[in-house]
Symmetry: C2
Subunit: 182 residues, 2 copies
DNA sequence: TATTGTTATACTCTATAACTATA
DNA sequence: TATAGTTATAGAGTATAACAATA
């Protein structure tokens, strides 16, 4: 019995998968960090969009998104044009150069996986992909900012409590679990 | 047809899962960053071990492991004792306080998943866990240092080429894909 | 006044390289 | 000479807060 609950085991395995992600990052060219590649992939998949939507798809704060986008725009991989319907917004669109780069990156990643995952059945690969997709969808928008945005739709101010906070205490009643801080 | 190959799609979904990992990190107490939690989890799962083994399990360089371990030792969650068989090594062991903290963290993570993944069937959860475990195992040790360690078993020096390098070119023959660098 | 996006700052995580101590 | 581990430094990724421009 490796874990008390399957949820704990899932947390462990998700943490371990970070190693695979780093392996994937390592095949990227120096001029295209992982953040840039993620932006390109989403613009390719979902088409042109605004910053806020991209931030939501990336699952990160818009401030971070802004910096990632600045990089890919500097490289000429993404075009940033004003939104005709809202002067505050800007429309992001993949350029031809960006699409070419993304294609090349996709081939690289495919090569790597084809080598490492040679004996995987197609069904298992498909199952993993669809389970990961579902996990991401069901887990929801887990950005730090997401809570605030949610509350903003309801009321202007006040105590925010969108998602139930973890009620599990960190320390057992009998004895302190930490030392250095106490 | 979202992706040319399932491998590209897998890469995308792995990238997206980072959002779930960040959501998990967010429930950790300030005195226990994700790196510390990962160390505790592995020591709990596999028992006492040396630094090098821990680095291998974490899938990161030993220098990083060393710093993570220093943190959990400072907090009193891990004990670092000399290896009786090798004066260079040190044995790492979870303390009672460390185990308590880890239990509490596990409950927190389980609470979070139980809430977000309420309508998942047990079988799907189990399938995802085992597929992730297999992915991590088959992808192999993807640390940057791993290539060098591998070559060290064969010969003392010379050109290293353990894993086949990606042969896929980044640019198409007809036209340059990058701008800013050229 | 609220929203979109950018910038400044700080923190975590990781890798590389230089170093110490032991085998 | 090779290995185990530590430390210093640098770079990527993210969050928070302050800010500018527009709705």
């Amino acid at each position: 019995m490796p874990a008390r609950s399957p949820y704990e085991e899932l947390a462990r395995q998700l943490s371990a998968v970070g190693a695979v992600k780093r392996g994937l990052t390592r095949i990227l060219p120096p001029e295209c960090p992982a953040g840039s590649a993620a932006v390109l992939a989403l613009l390719d998949r979902y088409g042109e969009m605004r910053m806020s939507r991209l931030a939501e798809l990336l699952g990160i704060d818009m401030s971070v998104t802004s910096r990632h986008v600045a990089q890919v725009v500097d490289r000429g991989w993404v075009e940033r044009s004003p939104d005709p319907y809202d002067g505050r917004s800007r429309i992001l669109r993949l350029t031809a150069a960006g699409r070419e780069l993304l294609d090349a990156l996709g081939r690289r990643a495919a090569d790597l996986f084809a080598e490492r995952l040679a004996d995987w059945a197609d069904e298992d690969l498909g199952r993993l992909i669809s389970l990961l997709t579902r996990l991401r969808a069901d887990f929801g928008d887990c950005r730090a900012t997401a809570r605030l945005q949610e509350s903003a739709r309801v009321g202007p101010a006040g105590p925010v409590q969108t998602a139930r906070e973890p009620t599990t205490p960190l320390t057992a009643p009998e004895e302190p679990a930490r030392r250095a801080t106490g």
